[in-house]
Subunit: 424 residues, 2 copies
């Protein structure tokens, strides 16, 4: 907010923190996104409570005064305070200090309150900004937003990491991704996107996995090669970072985020990346079919050093490790026309071209030991006609985690879900 | 798209439908949102297939020619066709006709294909427009977008209509609404919104219920009365309808939607509305605590006739029928500071002011036979301080249903979930 010196104001907010210095009490008023420094003295009238306390909801009348030491250059000299509500108990954590003084576990248990810290207020404003950037760019590029079901009859990503539920006596699952549905919608609108929850019953606990997270997905038809998908992601990320830089300046500063700059994101084949890291860092290749987290980190490091890029597309993942809907590279069917995007050494996107031909998709299912009749609804689009197409999914919390330099993805979900956490 | 007469074009799309008239074949090219009328003759070259078929993905080269009888005033005279993919089988439904010639059940079973009909393409573009309008208005009014968890430890709306799942050996539920979380976030950002899936295990099958639907929720702090919430909804709806009227003209026309105009939405007390309908239509009041669907319909009819309004806010619902977090009217605690919004006789919104005082909330829970210790996480916000606040939830599919005049909400969800439908 911009104020003028001497301006009379009527404002409202929560008492974020306060401290008395003799006759004078300073307090921070927590507004929608800002904190405003306020000053009261013995003349200030309080109605609705006998004294000022943290987490009271108040309305104030006062005069704005220029104060170079205050955030935003102004402080409010308060004449009247109306207390609308007072807490029943004193807040169990300090929110006034820049550094949060609780450990992650206590923090998570107290999330309804700890989220009121400026750290989190900035964090989840940036989360909003990422969604806006994603959506706005794709809308401008002719994508239609969709809402696909989360209760499903079969998993798209396979494996055992799927939540089961009883659906009126039938077995049902929580969607691991909107994969089937966004492909179906390519037949309808050619280009679609969705931001929504996905569910993974992964049993391992790591700093980068959540059992429920927000996936930003898009899928597009009439691609010439799977590089088209990377091109769209690259342009989207550029737009997104510009948006954050222009409209979320305060949050970027508060979290001391160094926004990456994107020119052209380097693209490297999976097998080459693996080889480069093995050579540069003297590592043995243990598993030729997948990247270990440490390898991803080193690929990120290598491309940061040698190509000055925080991002790198790793392409042509082995067919063995990609799902049944991935299109194999016709030049070498041991690899797929697919990619991951690594951001500062962590995978934040998986994408690629999908099979669109009915016979090819059935054959690949059979080769993987799957029965195409189990997927008759999905295969309808292949049977009755689909354009060449592909797409990707971006983990919102992971992107935010790497952007803000957190060491745990739980800092980047409002109310994270992991094996031990179903609350709050 | 705007074209010039004689303009050379390169386009792509799916063959939506075609018919041969002697030497000439007309076909509709299904583009992202439009259909383009195309003409080919015996000179037109086809590569990649021996003939043109519906649901082929094609690239074409041709010349645009002014043709007043064609949609958009132009048709494309096609010189070259490159067929990128062909379906394995002929599409099981006609999509070319204006009227869909399949019943709802067959339609639902074939949704991956029937959604390609212009009816549905227009329908779900309008769905997108509604979400845009909701989001854009609220963002401009200082609301922050949030993503709350869908796997939860307890239901916010109570009752038996909740889906259960096993969460790593613990009992968990699918969120019936983001209620608890959006209230928590009012303490963080004052104003928040979310568009996301909610899950209701309702065992009755009606034309207006889905077991999974998309809820558009907002929640706002520092309200003076619960009328503030209705004011925001009213302004949001005005913005939304203007957006649809300006940016979704083609879809509005295709679906023959009569956009409602909003000046000031009438507001009537629940008990008065009930009485008015009883008098005007000679109905006996059977249940004084709830509105029957037929009563809602008649209230809608009455306000359409007498106040020329497609919308009506019904306020002050009985405490008995509102959830434990609803604030009672201090003037008469048998009623709550709450409302529903009826649109053309159907409830599309439930909202109201929430309790923010810890003791009052605990007391109300106890009076309803609930144990506050079961809701310790939720009650943290009341205990440690909350402003007066309230909010609402809008059923996206229902709003779309009433806007477009459908007789079944299943037409307004891409892949609806009901008791008998978990697929596609």
């Amino acid at each position: 907010m911009m104020y003028q010196d001497g301006q009379a104001v009527k404002l409202h907010g929560m008492v974020h923190s306060h401290r008395a210095l003799g006759e004078i009490t300073f307090f921070d008023l927590r507004q929608r996104t800002d904190l405003l420094q306020c000053v009261m003295n013995s003349d200030t009238r309080i109605n609705g409570a006998d004294q000022l306390r943290d987490e009271q909801a108040i309305r104030i009348e006062g005069l704005m005064q220029a104060e170079p030491r205050a955030r935003g250059g102004f402080e409010c000299h308060v004449m009247n305070i109306e207390v609308l509500s007072s807490p029943a108990e004193t807040r169990p954590v300090h929110l006034g200090k820049r550094i949060r003084n609780v450990g992650l576990d206590a923090d998570l248990s107290l999330r309804p309150i700890t989220l009121r810290h400026q750290f989190y207020r900035a964090m989840f404003r940036l989360q909003e900004g990422i969604c806006r950037g994603f959506r706005d760019y794709l809308a401008s590029a002719g994508f239609t937003e969709i809402h696909s079901p989360k209760i499903v009859a079969s998993g798209a990503e396979g494996g055992s990491n799927i939540f089961r539920l009883d659906y009126f006596g039938r077995k049902a699952y929580l969607a691991q991704s909107p994969q089937f549905y966004k492909q179906m919608m390519v037949g309808v609108y050619e280009r679609v996107f969705e931001i929504g929850p996905v569910f993974r019953a992964e049993k391992h606990s790591t700093i980068r996995h959540l059992n429920e997270y927000t996936s930003m997905d898009f899928e597009m038809g009439f691609i010439e090669t799977f590089a088209d998908i990377m091109d769209v992601e690259e342009a989207m990320l550029k737009h997104l970072l510009e948006l954050l830089g222009s409209e979320y300046k305060a949050e970027i500063e508060l979290l001391e985020v160094k926004l990456p700059s994107i020119d052209r994101i380097p693209r490297v084949r999976f097998d080459q990346a693996k080889q480069m890291v093995a050579e540069k860092y003297g590592r043995k290749i243990k598993n030729p079919f997948d990247l270990e987290p440490e390898e991803e980190r080193l690929i990120g490091e290598l491309f940061a050093q040698e190509h000055n890029s925080d991002f790198v597309f790793v392409t042509h993942y082995p067919s063995k490790k990609r799902p049944f809907y991935a299109m194999d590279d016709p030049k070498d069917t041991r690899y797929t026309l697919s990619f991951d995007l690594l951001f500062r050494g962590l995978e934040i996107t998986t994408g690629g071209q999908r099979l669109h031909d009915y016979q090819q998709q059935c054959d690949k299912m059979l080769a993987k030991g799957m029965d195409p009749t189990d997927f008759a609804d999905y295969l309808m689009i292949h049977k009755y006609g689909m354009p060449p197409h592909g797409g990707l999914g971006i983990g919102l919390e992971r992107l935010l985690m790497m952007l803000t330099g957190q060491n745990n993805v739980r800092y980047c979900a409002l109310f994270p879900r992991d094996q031990s956490r179903l609350e709050p």
